[in-house]
Structures are given as structure tokens and as C-alpha cells.
Amino acid sequence: MVLTIAMVSDFFYPNMGGVESHIFQVSQCLIERGHRVLVVTHAYGDRVGVRYMTNMLKVFYLPIMPFYNKSVLPTIVCSLPYLRHILLTEKVDLVHGHSAFSSLAHEALLVGTLLNLPTVFTDHSLFGFSDASAIVTNTFLKFSLANTSHTICVSHTGKENTVLRSSVVPERVSVIPNAVDSVAFRPPKVRRNIRSVVTVVLGSRLVYRKGVDLVVEVLPKICRKKFGGGRVRVDFIIAGDGPKRILFEEMIEKHGLQARVVMLGELQHSEMRDKLLAKGDIFLNTSLTEAFCMAIVEAASCGLSVVSTAVGGIPEVLPDQFIYFVQPSVGSIKAGLERAVEDVITGDRPDPWEGNCFVSSAFNWRNVAARTERVYETVCGKERQRLATRVRNMWEGGTVAGPIMAMLYLACHYFILLLDWCES
């Protein structure tokens, strides 16, 4: 069955990130499988209108400016005419929205259900429950997913989190992990010889969420120690930028580690392998919460040993031979790093190409696209819901918010009828 799929999200090229590369790679693999894919996103600076990317991937840059956190303001009335026009003229069979933080994706799901198209939503992140912003976001997500045909999450923990947040039926949530290009992220041709230096690399945004406060505490302790019977020392390379970068600079000054710790600053995703991962033996990840950490899979694909905090979906990603799990505390991270360094010195770890083979078979984009296609086929085969049922789903979403959202839904329905009449 050949489908025309519309991928909608606020996050796409020229912005670089996990969601953006996910959309691009899955679209390319779906085109390879014979489907027609278009991407809808908001304008990036001067980049407005229709652009074509590799393999005739049509991208619509809608003339809406981002409002907060790279997302557009969720007005619905602004984007509804654009989305309706695109979905009708391109004869789209299915709407696929990405990322809970993207308001454009939620609006597209709304328009898709109003035009009686099957809709799919992919959630890429974990979210809390306790603070006020979380409560509001979760309520909106609940209404957004009330009429969505299917949801995809990137890990089992992500599935549990999404089900709790939005009260969807668990059978309507599939778990399809992200993937990594194992050809681009391959180990260096010449294997690094461990003589006197073991290099630990870190590549992330330097913010509180990534646990960099812990790294700042652990780093001097590890640098002071000698391994392998006193002949091997540990050096660090840190890539990334953020508000906590100043902590690293201060720590380096305080302990005099300028020769031992290199700060590379912000790196492009394409430079990650050559400038960071190819130069390291161990990858350290100290995130405090993560749905699916692509960085550790990229590191494993390049043949590095991984030391990571066991939070969120990380325990599900790599098997024990490629990863050392630690707790988010200074002592635990120090112990884990020491174990990893000793294993690197004695050579007691898998061959780098073994890691690359594992990642290429377990996490590859073609597999993700095939599983996504299976979801599409399930969803397209289902019977369409009547308008009354969809309004009822919204109504039952809450005591006060439910009726309000149901009215809004009906108002949008009449707006679409008005637009249909205007165009005829």
C-alpha cells in the first residue's frame, strides 16, 4: 500500500537535533520503501515556502514565526488554513506529528482528525507530573491524544510515562526505538593503542539536566589517580556548551588541569565522530533523565565503552557488555569510571567493531521505518470515527476542560466547512 505521509513538527532542518534527524531519516527510509513523504514545519529566518531535500522530500516551511522554545504559538486559527490546504491538495493519507513540545504537531493532529485522516504521534521525551507547567502540558497532551489513532514512544519507560500523562489505552502505544547511522559512526580504522593515556569523552549540552554538576566533582578525583599499576593517567575531552560551562572552566583553573582536560565547545553533529568520539576510549553520560539516549548508542557504535547513569530509558538501550551502569552520585560515577578504565587497560572489553555490528543490527533506520510502516498499515485499516464519537472523546477528557475543548473542536470543524464553502 503506497501512502502519502505528512510529517509535522516544529523541529526540522536547519535546526539540528534528535527529533530533526529522526524525522529526516525515517522519511528517507519510507521514500525508499515506496511511499511519498512531505514534511511541514515553521519558517526558519528567511527559509519560507517549499523546499525540496534529498530524494524529492518536499518540505513546507509555513510562514509562522516561532514563539517560545523554537515552537510556534498554538493559536489553531493561524495554522489551520495552511494545514488544511496542504493536507487536501497533496492528498495526504496520514498525518504523523513529532514531539510533545511542538505545538505545530498538535495542531496538525487536530486538523488531521477533523479531516477524518488517520493520525500518528511520536513522543520523544519524558516529562514530570508535579509542577504547574507539567500539569497544564499533560492536560493538553491528553486532549491531543484523545482522537489520535496511534502513538509511538521511543522506549518502554517512555511508553509508561506517556500512558500515565495522557491516559491513552496502552495497546494503542507502540515502542519503536530511535536509531543511529552506524556507517557514519564507525570506529577509527587504526585501533588506539593504550600506552600511558586513557581518554574519557563527554558530549552533551552543559545544563543541569545532563548532570554536569556531578562530572565537575568527579573529574579532579579521577585526574589525580594513577591506573594500571601507576603508569596510566586519564585525560578528558568535553564537547558542548551551555550555562554550566563556567563550572568546568573554574574547576580546570582551580586544579590546574589545562593539559589534562580539553574543552571543545559546541560541535556540529557531523563533526562529533571525527573530533570527539574517534579520540576517546570511554564515553561518560551523567544525564538525570533521558527517554532514549542517542549519544550512548553513537558512542557504542564507534566502539567506545560507555559509563552512564541508569535513569529513564537508558537501562533498556544497551546490553551489559557495552555499558557500565552507575547511580547519579559522585561516588558511584567515580567507581564506575575506575572499573571502565581498568578494563580498557587490561583489554577486557569487546572489540570496537563488535559494538558497531551490534548497533547496526539492533538500531538501524530501515528497521525503524519498517516498524513505523506496520503502524501505518494498522491505522489505515481501522474504521474512521464519526464526528460525534470524536467530540465525545474530547468531552470526556475532563470536568471543565473537556466541554471547552469539545466546543473548540466543533468550532474548528465549522471553520473548515466555511473554508470549504469559500473555496468552492
Binding site: H156, T157, N161, S174, L318, S329
Partner: protein, 280 residues
């Protein structure tokens, strides 16, 4: 499976167990969820004590308002007020020094110097003070004073941390209300005594919290004093004050205590990890 055995479902992303992507094993799904972990429940006594702090501050505001009214109607002489406050200040200081914190002679001297400076400067500037908001009508003055006293009540420190708490804003709001009300006087001594009263009740009285044994008893005493003073002024205001004090000190703690049973928090592996900062 050729040998008739189905592999067990495992919570991993890298192996294909043969199960469909939306398979939800009932025993594993949401198995790690914890509800109401580390829940802090307050006893009824704690609820009443906490509310008593708020009630005390409200009573102090009412007493301040009554003193202003008495000063205006010349029922209370400014000299009497000043002498009473001085006496209470001396008593309070001696109790504070003896019970709470030992003060060196140098510290005591510095304190006396501050009081002296404040009194002199306040008295010197009081002719300017009571003319500041002279041209504004009485109704506007009263509403401005009341709203700033309300801000003072909202931002006061009642012993619990919250983003809205700021002693700077509360003290400034109280002094602003004094400046507004002082303009209604005819003589600068009354304005000065009102200013001293405001500094005494809004800066020094909250400092006496560690001196008092029980917040409930002191709040009861203050409330009865405030209401008896208010009964000399007007009955509708008395009823309003009684109603608001009863709501804050009785109804709210009881409601809070009852609603605690509805608390529900969800914890699980998706939570952001809390960094352990124990010394290594």
C-alpha cells in the same frame, strides 16, 4: 517457535522477542510505579499553629489600624503611644537578651545608636512626612493604605518558604501605608508616632516569635485585643474582622487537614534523578 516455547518478553529495545510493538505485559507494565512516596502529612496541631502565625500578623494590622483611628480622633495622645512603645521595647529587649541571644556591650551600644539615629531622623523629617500625600483625597488614601497592608500580609514570612515571600517587600508595603495614613494628621507629632508604631509592629514584633511559647495562645491574645479595640470604632468592621480571622485561623486549617487525604503523587523510573550530595 519450532520447539513450542515462546521467548519471555524482556524490557529491552535491542532484541526482537517476536512480540508486537504495542504488546503490554500486564505484570511488567507500570510495575515500577510508586504512589505517595515521601509524603509529608501535617497533624491538626501543626495546621492550627501555622494558621496562628498568619492570624497574629492580621491582628497586628488590625491593632495598627485601630491606633491610627484613635490618634485621628484624639482619643489616644501621641505622647502616650510613644511612651508605651518605649516601655514595650525595653521589656522586649531585656527578654530577648536574657532568653534568646547573648549580646555583647558593643552590640547593645550599636543597637541603641541605631534607635537613637532613627528617632532623631524620623522626628526631624516628620513635618515633611505628614505633608507628602496631603492633596490626595481620603478615600484614595484609605484604599491605597489597605491595599499595601494587604501586600504586606501576602509577602510576610510566616515560617514557610514560598516564592512570594519577601521581607523587603512586606516591610516596604507597611511603611508605605504609614506614609499614606500619616498625611491625614494635623500635627507632625502624630505622624511621627504613627511611623514609630508601624516600625515597631511590623519590624520588631515579628522578631519576637522565638520569645513566645505557643503561637496559638499569643494569636488568641492578639486577636481578642484587636477585636476589642475594633469594637470601639465600628460594628461592621468588627464583624468583617471576626469573619476573616475565623476563616484564616479555624476554617482553613481544618479544610487543609481534610484535603490531605486526597493527595496523590506518582513516582517512577521516568522521574528526574535527585543528585546525592553526601560527602565522599
Amino acid at each position: 517457535m519450532s520447539n513450542g516455547k515462546v521467548p519471555k518478553w524482556r524490557k529491552t529495545l535491542y532484541e526482537d522477542n517476536g512480540y508486537p510493538d504495542n504488546y503490554t505485559p500486564p505484570e511488567c507494565f507500570l510495575a515500577a510505579i510508586e504512589k505517595n512516596k515521601n509524603l509529608l502529612l501535617y497533624s491538626l496541631w501543626e495546621c492550627f499553629s501555622g494558621a496562628a502565625e498568619v492570624g497574629k500578623e492580621m491582628s497586628v494590622v488590625i491593632i495598627f489600624w485601630c491606633c491610627y483611628k484613635f490618634l485621628k480622633t484624639d482619643f489616644l495622645q501621641p505622647e502616650t503611644l510613644l511612651v508605651t512603645m518605649l516601655g514595650l521595647l525595653v521589656v522586649g529587649c531585656t527578654m530577648f537578651i536574657s532568653r534568646v541571644r547573648k549580646v555583647t556591650f558593643a552590640g547593645l551600644l550599636a543597637g541603641i545608636k541605631t534607635i537613637f539615629l532613627f528617632t532623631i531622623i524620623g522626628f526631624a523629617l516628620s513635618p515633611v512626612l505628614y505633608k507628602l500625600t496631603d492633596t490626595i483625597s481620603t478615600d484614595t488614601i484609605h484604599s491605597m493604605a489597605l491595599s499595601s497592608l494587604l501586600i504586606h500580609l501576602l509577602t510576610s514570612d510566616y515560617g514557610m518558604y514560598a516564592p512570594i515571600v519577601s521581607w523587603q517587600i512586606s516591610l516596604n508595603a507597611a511603611v508605605f501605608s504609614t506614609v499614606c495614613l500619616a498625611s491625614r494628621f494635623d500635627h507632625h507629632l502624630s505622624a511621627f508616632s504613627l511611623l514609630c508604631l508601624s516600625v515597631f509592629s511590623f519590624l520588631l514584633v515579628p522578631l519576637s516569635r522565638p520569645l513566645l511559647p505557643s503561637p496559638l495562645l499569643s494569636s488568641l491574645l492578639l486577636a481578642s485585643a484587636a477585636l476589642s479595640l475594633l469594637s470601639c470604632i465600628s460594628t461592621p468592621q468588627l464583624c468583617l474582622a471576626l469573619l476573616s480571622l475565623a476563616t484564616v485561623q479555624i476554617a482553613c486549617p481544618v479544610m487543609f487537614h481534610r484535603l490531605q487525604a486526597d493527595k496523590m503523587t506518582i513516582h517512577g523510573p521516568w522521574d528526574e534523578a535527585v543528585i546525592f550530595t553526601a560527602p565522599q
